[in-house]
Amino acid sequence: MTIDRARAEDHARTLAGDGSASPLLAVDSLRVVLAGSATDVVDEVSFTLDAGEVLGLVGESGSGKTTVALALMGYARRGLAIDGGTVTLDGVNVLGLDQAALRRLRGSTVAYVAQDPTSALNPALKVRTQLREVLAAHRPDLSDEQVDARIAELLAEVRLDGVAAALDSFPHQLSGGQQQRVMLAIAFACRPRLIVLDEPTTGLDVTTQRHVLDSIRGLCRIYHVAAVYVSHDLAVIADIADRIGVMYAGRLVELGPTERAFRAPGHPYTRGLLRAIPDPARAHVLEGLEGQPPRPGSRPEGCSFAARCEFAIAECRIGSPPIAALADGGHWARCRRAAEVAQLPPLGELPLRERAAGAADQALLTVENLSAQYGERQVLAGVSFSVAPRRCLAIVGESGAGKTTLARCIVGLHAQWQGSMTFDGAALRGDRRGRDRATIRALQYVFQNPYTSLNPRKTVGQLVEQPLRQLFKLPASERQARVVGALRDAALSEAYLPRYPDQLSGGERQRVAIARSLVVEPKLLVCDEVTSALDVSVQAAIVELLHRLKLERELTIVLITHNLALVRSLADDVVILRDGEVIEQGPEVLDHPRAPYTHQLLSDVPSLSLA
C-alpha cells in the first residue's frame, strides 16, 4: 500500500490521543417510521462504536440495516422519516442538526460508500469532477494545487494510480472494481471520522472483493476511522468486522464481538443464519429458515422471529423479549432463551454431506472441445467435460468466465458454437429449434432470476402446466395430476395453484420455476445461479431441495455458480472455468487444487469457519 507512512502515523497519533474514554459514535433508541404514519420500519436500535473499530451490521432484505446506516447521517429515503432517538457523533446529536449543518457533516465528518457504484456515480460527470467537488464543498481553504495533490494522494491510497487517465474517464469506462475504488477515494477524501459502507462488495468478483476489503481495512486502521459495514454476507462480515450487530424485522437482535457472536450466538436467528450458509471448507447439510420476516406494519406482538423460531415458547409471543447479556461482556441478544441458545454449538448436529456414488457409469452429457462466440467476441474455447448420471456437476467461475454462455449452449438458447455435445447417446444440435421433443423434455433449465422467469400474467397452475401442454399429449386430468405432483416435489402445496407470481416470495417463485422443469420428468437439470437472487436463509432451502431431487428423482444436475461455498455443499464434481477455458476439473478440485488460479480463488474467498 503506497500510503505516506509518516504522515499517516502523525495523523493517527493526534487522533489516538483522546484516549477513547467515550465512544466516537453512540446510537440510542433510533426509530424510523413510514413517513406520515406511526408504522415503524426500524426501532429501538442502540449501539456504540469507537474510533478505528468496524461494526458489521448483518441482516437480510427488509431487515432495516440500510435504513439504520443512512440514519447515521441524518438521512432517510423518500417515504421514510426519522422519528426518534439520538445519533451522537463526537458529542453532537446528528439528528438535531439543521439542513445546513447536515450538509457540512455529510461527506466530511461522515462519509458513505454506496452498494452499487455504477448507479451511485453520476454517468454524465467525469471521475475528476466527482472527486473534486467533495473537496471543494468541504475544504474551501485548499488551493487548486492542494486539491489536485490530495486527489493524487487518494488515488494512490486506493490503488488507482496505475490506471491511465482514470480521472478523465466517465464512470462507465471503468470496471466495477475500479468504480468502487473511486467511491472509496471520494469517501476518504475529507478524512472522515466515520464511514458507512453499504454492501460495497456485492457484485464484485471474489478477487476484486478481496482487494477492496483489504483497502477498506487498511485505510480504516491507518486513519483511525470508525466504520459501519452493512452486509448480508456473513463470511465477508467475519472477515472485516470487529463487532457485529444482527438486524431482523427492524430491530437489533444481537450485538457482540464477531468471534464470540459467531461461535456462540445467543439469538436463534443468528444461529439460523449460520446454519443456512454453506462453508467453503466443509460440506455440511444446510438448514434453511422457513417463512419470511414480517413486513413493517404487520409485525406481531411479542418477538418478530417467534413464528420461525425452533426455540420459541409461549412467552415469546407476548411482549417483546428483553435484552439478555451473555456470559462474556459486550455481547447481548434479544431473546428469552439467549443463555441456552448460546450454549449450543451453532452447527451442532448438522451432518456432513454424503458424497454420491462413483462416476463409473456412462456419462449422460459429454461436451467436447466446445468453442462459442457472441458475434465476434470469443467467449468459450476448447471446453471439454462430462457429466455422470445422478451426480451434480458444478461449473464454477467468476463473472465473464463464460458459465452462462456454456449453460445456454447446452440447453439450446445459444447456437453460435463449434465442437460437439452428446446427450444420452445422441448428438445435441446447437439450436433448440432443431431438437426433438424427447431431448427437450429430458434436458431442462432453471433460470437465475425468479422474478423474471415467470410470466406475471399467469397463475402458478398455468405456468407449471404449460410445458406439459406444449410437449405432451395428455388428457387434462393427467396433466393436473402431474402438476400437483411436481409442485409437491418442490415442497409447494396445492394451495399455490391459483396464485400469481407477485403474490409469492423469491424462494417460492424459484420453487415454482423448479416445479415447472420437473413436471416433464427430465433427466438433466441445468441450474443457472439459481440461488444468487435469493436471501441467505432461503438459499439453503433451495439447495437442500436440489439435493433431495437428485437422490429421489435420480436427477442429474449441472450447477452454474460463482459461489465456492455452495459448490462445496452440493457438488460431486467440479469444473473451474476462467475466461472461457477449463482450468481444472474433477471430484477433488476443492480439496486438492492443483492450478494456481484455483488456489488463488480458494484463498480469496472469505470464509466463516466454525468447525
Binding site: L413, T452, Q470
Partner: protein, 297 residues
C-alpha cells in the same frame, strides 16, 4: 397486476383517481351529448331558420350561424360522425401498429429491420399532411379518411410497442416458453402481448385523441366531412368571419372539442399512472415519454 381481468382493474383504478374521474366525466359528457344530440336537437341542423349570425335569443339559445342555421342544433348534431370516424381510424391504426411492433421486436433481425425502415419512411410525413396528400387526389371520402388516418397512426404505435416489447422479449419467462418448443405467434401473442396491455390501452386513448384532432382539423380545412353536414371542425371554420357578431357559433364547437380532448387525455394519463401501480418517477418518464414522444401532425 395479478388479476385475470387486468385491464378492468386498471380502468377501475384510473376512474377512481381524481384525474381519472375528472377526465371520465368531461369526455363522457361530450360523448353522451354527441350521441344523443341529433335526437334532441330542436331544429334541423341543415335548414336555414333565421337571419345569419343572429345573437342568442329565447328561440335560438346559441344564435345562428353563417347561413342562418340554429347553432344549438348544429352543435348537437355535429359530433357523432366525428367520433365514429375517429374511433374506426384508431382501431385500425392501433391494431396494425401493435402487430407490426411486436413482430419487429420478437422476430428481430431482418423482420425488424424491414419493418422499421418502412416505419421510418412513413414517419417522414406529418400525419395531417399524409392524410391531405391522399385526400387531394381521391377526394374527401369517409373510407379514405379512416384509412389515411389509421395508417398514419400505425408507424408511431409500432415504434412505441416495439420498444416496450423489446424489453419484455428479453425477459427470462419468454425464453422459458421458447424452450418448450412453442411456435412464434403463440409466444408473441400469448406471452408477450398480455404483458403489454397497459401500453396498448394508453395508446388507444392517445390515438383516439389524435384521431379526433386530425379529423376535426381536416374538416376545419375543408377536407373532411363535407358541408352541409353539421360537423364541429367545419363549423369552426365557416363561422370564423362572424366572430365579432355571434362568437357562439365558433365558441360552442370549439369548447366541445376542447373539453372532449382534454377529458380523454386526462383519463388516458390516469390510466397510464394506474398501470404503473406506484407513482415512481422513473416510470413516469416512461409514461410521459409514451405520451410526449408522439407527434400528431
Amino acid at each position: 397486476m395479478s388479476s385475470r381481468r387486468e385491464w378492468l382493474v386498471i380502468l377501475g383504478r384510473a376512474a377512481r383517481s381524481p384525474r381519472g374521474a375528472v377526465g371520465l366525466v368531461l369526455s363522457g359528457l361530450v360523448v353522451a351529448l354527441a350521441i344523443v344530440g341529433p335526437f334532441v336537437a330542436p331544429y334541423s341542423p341543415t335548414q336555414t331558420v333565421t337571419a345569419t349570425f343572429a345573437t342568442p335569443s329565447g328561440a335560438f339559445p346559441l344564435g345562428s350561424d353563417v347561413l342562418g342555421r340554429d347553432v344549438l342544433s348544429r352543435t348537437l348534431a355535429g359530433g357523432w360522425e366525428l367520433l365514429a370516424v375517429a374511433a374506426a381510424a384508431t382501431i385500425l391504426g392501433v391494431s396494425l401498429g401493435v402487430i407490426l411492433g411486436i413482430s419487429a421486436a420478437y422476430l428481430g433481425r431482418y423482420t425488424d429491420g424491414l419493418i422499421m425502415r418502412i416505419v421510418d419512411i412513413f414517419l417522414a410525413f406529418p400525419q395531417l399532411v399524409f392524410a391531405l396528400l391522399l385526400v387531394s387526389v381521391v377526394g374527401p371520402k369517409i373510407w379514405l379518411i379512416i384509412v389515411a388516418v389509421g395508417i398514419s397512426h400505425a408507424p408511431q404505435v409500432a415504434r412505441v410497442l416495439r420498444s416496450v416489447a423489446l424489453e419484455v422479449c428479453e425477459r427470462d419467462f419468454v425464453k422459458a416458453v421458447e424452450l418448450m418448443d412453442t411456435p412464434a405467434p403463440k409466444v408473441m401473442f400469448g406471452e408477450v402481448l398480455p404483458n403489454l396491455l397497459s401500453v396498448v390501452m394508453v395508446e388507444l386513448g392517445l390515438r383516439f385523441t389524435y384521431s379526433i384532432l386530425i379529423i376535426a382539423g381536416m374538416s376545419f380545412l375543408g377536407f373532411g366531412i363535407q358541408p352541409p353536414a353539421a360537423n364541429w371542425g367545419l363549423m369552426i371554420q365557416e363561422n370564423r368571419i362572424g366572430l365579432v357578431v355571434n362568437p357562439w357559433a365558433v365558441i360552442a364547437p370549439t369548447a366541445l372539442i376542447a373539453i372532449l380532448t382534454i377529458g380523454l387525455n386526462t383519463f388516458t394519463d390516469a390510466v397510464a399512472r394506474a398501470s404503473l401501480g406506484v407513482d415512481r418517477p422513473a416510470d413516469e418518464v416512461a409514461a410521459t415519454a409514451g405520451i410526449a414522444l408522439e407527434t400528431s401532425a
